[in-house]
């Protein structure tokens, strides 16, 4: 009798363990990015669930954007972002970055939710959330602006649960390798060398004597983007920083697109016109923005339209937009379907929601 009771006990225990294991497997299968993000922040899955709670589908998508962006899988980031427009600053921030890296930021900018400039640069300050701060440096690193890439990685580290997330240590090591601060890089590489096997392998390949030709090229490309002179600027003077980058390297297409899109998302048409050189870049977005400026300044001459590469089709569409706009007394109800993804529509109807 006692023996049978023991048997049932073992069976019950096995069932409980199997159920727990199966539940864990299902969780991992449904939330692969949550697990990766937790590992990058230096904590276990259990700790992550304690600290951050159980992720829902939207959170898993956002974490996917962060993880894939960290590995610079830009097409994957773009694919993930299009699964669902999350109407979320972080989601837009990574979708914009992916589109920029794929060379199509202005062409896609109006296709999805844009929380004004906060979809290009996540604000960093005492009122920012740690989660956003931890993401904010990714765009600066790609732009080649290491002071802010380093700052935001340090802040990411500051807010990671154990203050030692490898995601941030890697960025700090690499930012310092780019700037040539090998002594600082050594500190972070040594920490990674004493981390997981993946981190150790990553760190070993970043020792300058171990750089592959591809990695040498990557560092050289990043260095080529760096400012060549020193200028002291405020923490939030984003357009100035982008102009510093462009003055260092006119071929920094990423910085140019970010600057022009920043001007447009903040509806600063005058700044856009000052920053826009039609000889350097072209996009329908820029044509649409120039038409607003030219119409306002009475500059709709054939010469100007040609200078700014404004197509006849775009010009005609603008005329149609203006006609409907005037006819409806400024109402956008008959413009949404046809012009909802134009810059004109954004310019006249997008309203900043400070609480979002």
């Amino acid at each position: 009798m006692a023996c049978r009771g023991k048997q049932w006990l073992w069976i019950a225990l096995a069932v409980v363990l199997l159920a727990a294991g199966a539940s864990q497997c299902v969780f991992l299968l449904r939330h692969p990015y949550f697990r990766k993000y937790a590992a990058q922040n230096g904590i276990s899955l259990r700790e992550a669930r304690e600290v951050w709670g159980k992720p829902d589908r939207d959170a898993e998508q956002i974490l996917g954007l962060i993880v894939e962006a960290g590995e610079e899988n830009w097409q994957k980031v773009a694919d993930l972002a299009t699964r669902k427009d999350l109407h979320n600053e972080v989601g837009t921030y990574y979708y914009n970055l992916a589109n920029a890296m794929l060379g199509r930021l202005p062409d896609r900018l109006m296709d999805y939710y844009q929380p004004f400039e906060r979809g290009l640069f996540l604000p960093v300050g005492p009122s920012s959330t740690p989660f956003k701060i931890a993401c904010a440096g990714d765009v600066w690193f790609q732009l080649g602006y290491m002071p802010l890439a380093e700052r935001d990685a340090m802040l990411g580290l500051l807010f990671s649960p154990e203050h030692n997330g490898s995601r941030y240590l890697r960025r700090l090591a690499e930012a310092n390798l780019v700037t040539g601060e090998y002594e600082a890089a050594a500190k972070y590489l040594r920490m990674l060398l004493n981390g997981s096997q993946e981190d150790r392998q990553w760190a070993r390949s970043r020792f300058p004597e171990n750089w592959s030709p591809q990695y040498q090229l990557r560092i050289a490309e990043k260095r080529n983007l760096m400012p060549q002179f020193d200028l002291v600027h405020g923490m939030d003077q984003t357009p100035i920083i982008l102009r510093i980058l462009l003055s260092a390297n006119q071929t920094n297409r990423l910085a140019l697109d970010y600057l022009l899109c920043y001007d447009l998302l903040t509806k600063d048409i005058d700044a856009f016109v000052g920053d826009f050189d039609p000889g350097l870049t072209r996009s329908q977005l820029y044509e649409e923005a120039m038409l607003i400026f030219l119409a306002a300044k009475g500059g709709m001459s054939a010469e100007n339209l040609a200078h700014y590469h404004i197509s006849e089709a775009c010009f005609q569409r603008f005329n149609r937009f203006v006609t409907i706009y005037k006819r409806d007394g400024g109402s956008g109800r008959n413009l949404t379907a046809e012009f909802g993804k134009s810059y004109w529509y954004y310019y006249y109807y997008a309203v900043k929601n400070e609480t979002k």
Partner: protein, 486 residues
């Protein structure tokens, strides 16, 4: 049999602990943050006889068969292995054996088939160092912070005590703790934000003060308590954080306005004076002379900032201080001229014996912690001469210094090595002005600094423990009303 099995299981369970992966010491060598063959680099340093054991490790990644021999007064003590870790009792016995003389150290190991050998020295000074050091542990934060702590370390052992922290103050910002002339019974620091104030410790009695009135441009920022304990001298600053566009220069901070004021802690008054509240002059970093008869501070002609940042250079000046009324006199005497030297002074600190004035010199501005050119400068106040500090200064920022209560040792935060994280280094000053190669605050684990991602901010020496702890400060923050000043 069953007992044997249990024993075997226990041994196997303990196996991973004893067979852990050794610490990877790479990268090391020239061009890295570990350029000496040992870390911390204790070769040829001068030590106070009451310091905690100097544990260190060898940095050669390829090295093996490390042996270390300590020799003093005909006796030898040997260590084997990469890490040299002393038992505290043995270390103290050895300091007694050396009896204030030198300890010779012989380091030997094999590396890549060659034999390596170094002979070096630990110099012992009879001058004891104040046994307590307070510092704020902070990650480089750029206007945001998390998990701040102010810690008091016992320098004769590895014991630490948290005297204020985020746990008891709902993660409030707190600024560094400073002693008056190294006195554990006279010190202060700030708790910022709601429920905060200047926390004044006089003989263990704590007060929370709101050091701001309508005539001041900001609450008090930098300053010091008068040796008499009744007054404090402070700067008020409009502080603007900014960034350099060049990668390695990082964050810059400047003041667009700054003045001085005196706080009368007994009369609950804040006093301002025409000489030190001029709109055309930036005044900051005030401290008292050892006898309390003067106030030294930094002053620069006001400039539009950040446009003229590189031209903004602070001189070191002093004005008389009336110890009866708390009045600052004038006009200011120039002690060190920025115009003449084309450089900028920060953080003056007079030694409590009145002999020395230690300050920081940087290329420009008022925030030297990210300035690699920033060095410590020592003035002999008996004749105004500037002493040779090449033994002390490194190629990275050296600043935020303080004196021991007898003026024979000073500590400072240096970013030597990685250039990012400030660490406390100690130097000795002999009566003839000879300064010694600094040594890094020893830690029980020689790899401690390898994984440390926080700066030791404003290390400050104290001759006795401060009479409070983090729980007490938590209560002060939560329950004690702040006293307002006129």
């Amino acid at each position: 049999m069953k007992r044997n099995k249990l024993l075997l299981l226990a041994m196997l369970a303990g196996l991973p602990l004893s067979c852990g992966r050794p610490y990877d010491v790479r990268p090391a060598g020239p061009g890295t943050d570990r350029d000496s063959f040992i870390f911390p680099d204790y070769t040829d340093v001068t030590l106070p006889i009451n310091i905690a054991p100097l544990n260190f490790y060898y940095t050669d990644p390829e090295g093996k068969e490390f042996t270390t021999h300590f020799l003093a007064n005909g006796k030898t003590l040997s260590f084997k292995g990469r890490e040299v870790v002393w038992k505290e009792k043995v270390w103290r016995e050895w300091l007694a054996v050396a009896a204030g003389g030198d300890i010779t150290v012989e380091s030997a190991w094999s590396s890549g088939g060659t034999h390596q050998f170094h002979r070096w020295t630990l110099h012992l000074s009879h001058d004891r160092i104040d046994p307590y050091l307070t510092y704020r542990l902070i990650e480089p934060g750029f206007e945001v912070w998390d998990d701040l702590e102010i810690v008091e370390r016992h320098l004769e052992s590895f014991d630490t005590r948290v005297i204020s922290d985020y746990r008891h103050t709902e993660n409030k910002c707190m600024n560094c703790h400073i002693h008056s002339q190294g006195r554990g019974d006279l010190s202060m620091f700030y708790l910022r934000g709601e429920g905060g104030g200047a926390i004044l410790n006089r003989g263990g009695e704590l007060r929370k003060l709101t050091l701001k009135n309508d005539t001041m441009i900001s609450p008090t920022v930098y300053g010091e308590i008068h040796p008499g304990g009744r007054f404090g001298v402070f700067s008020t600053n409009i502080i603007v954080p900014a960034m350099h566009s060049e990668g390695g220069r990082r964050m810059e901070v400047f003041d667009t306005a700054s003045d001085l004021c005196v706080a009368d802690f007994d009369g609950k008054r804040l006093l301002t004076f025409p000489e030190t509240s001029r709109e055309d002059v930036f005044e900051t970093f005030p401290v008292f002379s050892a006898d309390g008869e003067f106030v030294y501070y930094c002053a620069a002609p006001a400039h539009p900032l950040p446009a003229d940042l590189y031209q903004t250079m602070y001189s070191l000046v002093r004005v008389p201080f009336d110890t009866a009324t708390g009045t600052l006199g004038g006009p200011a005497d120039t002690v060190w001229s920025a115009t003449r030297r084309a450089a900028s002074v920060c953080h003056p600190k007079t030694s409590p014996d009145g002999r020395w004035l230690l300050f920081t010199v940087a290329g420009y501005g008022t925030f030297p912690i990210n300035h690699s050119e920033c060095d410590l400068c020592l003035m002999d106040l008996s004749d105004g001469s500037i002493l040779d500090m090449r033994a002390v200064n490194a190629e990275k920022s050296d600043t935020y210094h303080s004196w021991s209560s007898d003026g024979t040792w000073f500590v400072f935060a240096s970013k030597r090595g990685d250039g990012l994280y400030g660490k406390p280094y100690f130097s000795h000053v002999a009566p003839d002005g000879t300064v010694t190669k600094p040594f890094l605050l020893p830690q029980k684990n020689p790899h401690y600094y390898d994984t440390m991602l926080r700066s030791f901010n404003v290390p400050d020496l104290g001759n006795a423990p401060v009479g409070f702890d983090a729980a007490t400060i938590g209560k002060v923050w939560k329950e004690m009303p702040a006293e307002s000043f006129e």
